[in-house]
């Protein structure tokens, strides 16, 4: 019983900051503190009339969609190879691909900055951030897709090939539909990671910031904080929707593969 009480208290600790977001987003005052001043939707209106923000959101969306697609494609290759017969050094190869999961992001940011700007002398832009985001999203994609591939019965693909399908045809017609929910959840998770990632984008964005970099700039101006709260409210709502879809997909995938749910993305 005390454990259940502790669990609830812990959830309150986890949700405390997010719960405050909408409260201050609708608060009619520029100071982010209690007591509240009254209700307003002014800050949401201001979001619509800020061209710089729209530009940043556009950059972030381009980056997040590209990173999610590339990372998922590479993740499919790695996760499928992971389920196949092993060869010497395979663990090391996969371990190395998973390394960004534990590497501090500032290390990834700094090392790519050195190579792109100092060694190759190229200008920074959205593509530099995409390159880095693919790198940090890939381990998450692989983790999600491993779950999708693990439940597959190998004999189904073999049966399709016995019935005259090519290897690719068997993959496309048999395996792909079975892992489709895993692919969707991998896309959504990497999209969410990329959309929210700050430090790499901070180092690698050129003249056009991404949304988190833009938010970082706003945090220095106290009068802009309510707008940040409004933006944050929208982002939180959006990621809860996306994650719920990802989770539903993941569960559907497990059911399709006839597995019992053991829970969790990671």
């Amino acid at each position: 019983m005390t454990l259940r009480f502790y669990a609830v208290a812990y959830l309150i600790f986890l949700y405390a900051p997010i719960a405050l977001l909408p409260i201050f987003a609708f608060n009619d005052g520029t100071i982010i503190a209690f007591p509240l001043q009254g209700f307003t939707t002014q800050w949401f209106g201001e979001l619509r009339t800020t061209p710089a923000l729209h530009e940043a959101v556009k950059n972030s969306l381009i980056i997040a969609v590209s990173s999610a697609v590339i990372a998922t494609l590479l993740g499919i290759c790695a996760a499928r190879a992971g389920q196949m017969e092993t060869f010497p050094g395979k663990g090391g190869v996969i371990g190395f691909i998973m390394l960004p999961l534990v590497l501090p992001e500032i290390i990834v940011a700094v090392s790519l900055l050195v190579v792109i700007v100092r060694v190759m002398g190229l200008p920074l832009g959205n593509w530099t951030i995409i390159l880095a985001h693919v790198l940090i999203c890939m381990p998450f994609c692989i983790a999600v897709l491993n779950g999708a591939f693990a439940g597959l019965d190998k004999s189904m693909e073999e049966a399709a090939m016995d019935l005259g399908q090519s290897r690719w045809g068997a993959f496309r017609l048999v395996t792909l539909p079975l892992i489709a929910p895993g692919i969707v959840s991998s896309l959504l998770i990497s999209f969410t990671i990329s959309l929210d990632e700050f430090i790499i984008a901070f180092f690698l964005s050129g003249n056009s910031p991404t949304m988190p970099v833009y938010i970082w700039g706003l945090l220095r101006f106290p009068e802009k904080l309510p707008v940040v709260m409004a933006l944050g409210t929208i982002l939180v709502a959006l990621s809860i929707v996306l994650l719920t879809i990802a989770e539903t997909m993941r569960r559907r995938g497990l059911r399709r593969a006839g597995l019992k749910d053991t829970g969790g993305f990671l």
């Binding site: 290390i107 100092r118 988190p212 053991t262």
Partner: protein
């Protein structure tokens, strides 16, 4: 199955499949990391890079008190964050694994992971709102009559950094411990109690050692990224809570001294790796003596 070269056909296909993601990681992770190592042995000569091999950066990084202090503080804060996060996370993982009905487990895990996926920057900023002088915590405690003066030891110092990071990394600690606890064969616990252990000693002598791999994974997965956190020390740390990542950023983007920044990044990584390996070794030793 084995054909020429000792590798099966399927093994060769899996090599072909791994080629794309692996080359990506080599090109965009291994080679850039190599470049950072190289840079750390070069020096910044006004606008150019002097490519003569030298240990000058390492000498400077290790002799200047400011760098030593930042590195020491980063390790200390990362250690404190790890301890707090893992200790707070264990009961949650234990609760979800042992007390929650199987059909509701994934709902609990989902609830635990949601806050982690929402804007990191804004979450950290909100801790500033909660912990501030006129913040939510102080005004509520004052309103309830628990304190007369606002608490000042909770913002713009290392404590604030520890609280905020413990919040940010919570799911990273809970999930590995949960997975380890799920793997424990429940009949072992019954056996232990049949053999005369009580609940506490069963936990200490059976559950905890079996959960150790999860605890170790949680410790590493929290400790290693924490050392490189930039946002939290910058927003809630104040001058006494800044960490090594803030200095790395300053060297790269403000002072235009990439070689020194690279050196600091490498020293941070090296110390983390040494501590992580030491921790794994100590843990192995501890498990073996039992």
């Amino acid at each position: 199955m084995a054909t020429r070269g000792g590798l099966g056909q399927e093994a060769r296909r899996s090599i072909a499949l791994l080629a794309a993601p692996f080359s990506y990681a080599i090109l965009l992770l291994a080679m850039p990391l190599g470049a950072v190592v190289l840079f750390s042995f070069w020096t910044q000569d006004f606008l150019d890079i002097d490519t003569t091999f030298t240990l000058a950066n390492y000498e400077e990084a290790l002799s200047q008190p400011i760098y030593r202090m930042l590195l020491g503080r980063s390790l200390w804060i990362a250690g404190a964050v790890t301890l707090v996060t893992v200790v707070l996370a264990f009961p949650i993982a234990y609760f979800v694994s042992f007390y929650v009905a199987p059909s509701r487990k994934s709902l609990w895990l989902f609830l635990i992971t949601i806050p982690f996926w929402t804007s990191y920057l804004i979450r950290v900023f909100l801790w500033k709102v909660i912990l501030g002088f006129n913040g939510v915590l102080n005004t509520s405690l004052q309103g309830l009559g628990f304190i007369d003066e606002p608490l000042t030891f909770i913002l713009y110092n290392a404590n604030a950094v520890v609280i905020t990071l413990a919040h940010a990394f919570a799911p990273f600690a809970i999930l590995p411990i949960f997975v380890a606890l799920e793997r424990i064969d429940r009949s072992l616990l019954e056996a232990s109690q049949d053999l005369g252990e009580n609940k506490v000693t069963t936990f200490l002598r059976v559950t905890l050692p079996l959960a150790m791999p999860g605890v170790v994974a949680a410790t590493l997965i929290v400790f290693i990224p924490t050392i490189g956190d930039y946002v939290t020390p910058r927003l809630v740390g104040g001058p006494d809570g800044l960490m090594i990542a803030n200095m790395i950023q300053t060297q790269f983007l403000r002072l235009n001294n990439a070689p020194l920044g690279a050196t600091l990044a490498i020293l941070a990584m090296l110390s983390v790796t040494v501590i992580a390996l030491l921790f794994i070794w100590l843990n192995r030793k501890w498990l073996r003596t039992r």
